[in-house]
Subunit: 279 residues, 2 copies
């Protein structure tokens, strides 16, 4: 009775989990090893509440106090939780941070973004690029060619002006206002559509922040259209930008609309893999 168990254990599909935990009352997965599942649920409860007592947690997980307590002791032995005072409430401990250090050590924007970029390239049929801010321009780190025969030239390793590309505008939008000002010098004109007025660029950046993506049509090169969205790290900082680009004649208004959705989803997914997305 205490356990709404299921005999079927461990089906290999981690496919779903649409909104994960959400604000649902219990955080139990009900999958795998029961006690471990409960222990991990405790961590999630603590993450949500910040601090909680044994009784409180027992109620949330719908288990007996003593059960919750023993799980707590085990978690505490590994320093994943700690109690505020002897015989007091519990909260997350420094052990978590140690684990997190090991996790971030392997987190690399390129590594995480590549498979996502591949899917994006497949879905749109256009070329996907990944860029970061470097010095005073956009540095292209990776590129996945689209399916079309018309191959773009390889931007990887190139420094590209920030004000004339979708990626650049996304990266600018991730800066603070004061930092942004430093980048508003020397707005070179590339085409008649290039944004060269500082005030116009400020407005454009504001709009990018607002809508969460950037568009660049014929701004760097006539006939080149690009859509970009920001990739964020744990702290919410914009660490990179991912874009879809192709010839303007192929990227019609309707296809651009679709691309916007796909690019934003891809960027969101990449951000999640880098740990972004608590609330």
């Amino acid at each position: 009775m205490t356990t709404p168990v299921d005999a079927s254990v461990a089906s290999g599909n981690t496919a779903e989990v649409p909104d994960e935990t959400a604000s649902a009352p219990a955080a139990l997965t009900g999958q795998g090893v029961q006690s471990v599942d409960r222990a991990l649920a405790i961590l999630e409860v603590l993450a949500r509440r910040g601090e909680a007592g044994v009784t409180e947690i027992a109620a949330e997980l719908d288990v007996h106090k003593s059960t919750a307590f023993r799980l707590m002791v085990t978690l505490e032995a590994h320093r994943l939780v700690e109690q505020t005072v002897e015989r007091g409430r519990y909260r997350l401990g420094v052990g978590i941070l140690r684990l997190a250090g090991a996790t971030t050590a392997r987190l690399d924007v390129v590594q995480e973004a590549r498979p996502i970029g591949r899917q994006l390239a497949e879905a749109t049929g256009e070329t996907v690029n990944l860029a970061v801010l470097s010095e005073r321009s956009a540095l292209y780190l990776d590129q996945i060619a689209g399916s079309s025969a018309l191959q773009p030239h390889n931007w990887v390793g190139q420094h590209i002006p920030l004000h004339a590309t979708s990626n650049g505008k996304v990266l600018l939008a991730g800066l603070s206002d004061t930092a942004l000002e430093e980048f508003l010098d020397s707005l070179t004109t590339y085409t008649p559509h290039t944004i060269t007025e500082r005030s116009a660029l400020r407005a454009e950046v504001a709009q990018v922040r607002e809508q969460g993506y950037a568009l660049a049509i014929d701004e760097l090169e006539i006939g080149l259209t690009a859509i970009a969205a920001p990739i964020r790290n744990t702290q919410g900082d914009v660490v990179a930008s991912i874009s879809v680009s192709g010839p303007s004649f192929r990227l019609t208004a309707a296809r651009v609309e679709e691309a916007i959705r796909l690019v934003r989803d891809a960027a969101m997914e990449a951000s999640h893999r880098l740990g972004w997305g608590h609330r």
Copy 2:
């Protein structure tokens, strides 16, 4: 190459912290709920190795493959681990990062210091770190990347030696003399500039107390310069240390002078927000 950061600290934290789990075959605590204890041991193994297979882990914990596997499945359901490919090896997952975010969120030091750190990073253009004393080393809680492009090595969650870093020396300076003595063991040499003599370190700590900031040039890593200052709470205790660090070639004598002023101001501001200095 923005940060000629070191790899030795990144990979192996077995440098010091002699006891605790040690290099013993098993990382098991042997306390509390068995299955949970084992599951958490798995996390620690993964943190140490970065990546491991089921069989490998089973051997390390001295349990059967199937046992290890089921624990894995449970951990995976909570996104604390993930596998590289379908039917592949395992590594730590993003769930850890989410928990870590919640861990630091409850520490008001981080809450108060982050906006200040952000300004500091902007003013200096270098990377800002926030550290506290944990165990017998400096635990890095937060990091704000400088304006230079590539994200420097992420120290968050890492334990860093106290005697070879500016943050560490600030934290040591915050200890009482008696408490300080306990930390003067095993002064590992990292570079020719590392302070390894106990008497020299005592003198250095005294100087840090005197001048209210610490400097570390090439002491942990050749080419790495850092400046740190103490953050105090209401009672005047040193609760954390905030630092600016960057490549030595960029941090010239003049810029270090300026950084010292900025770091001290930032630390002072953070201290005030934590209630220090209310007469």
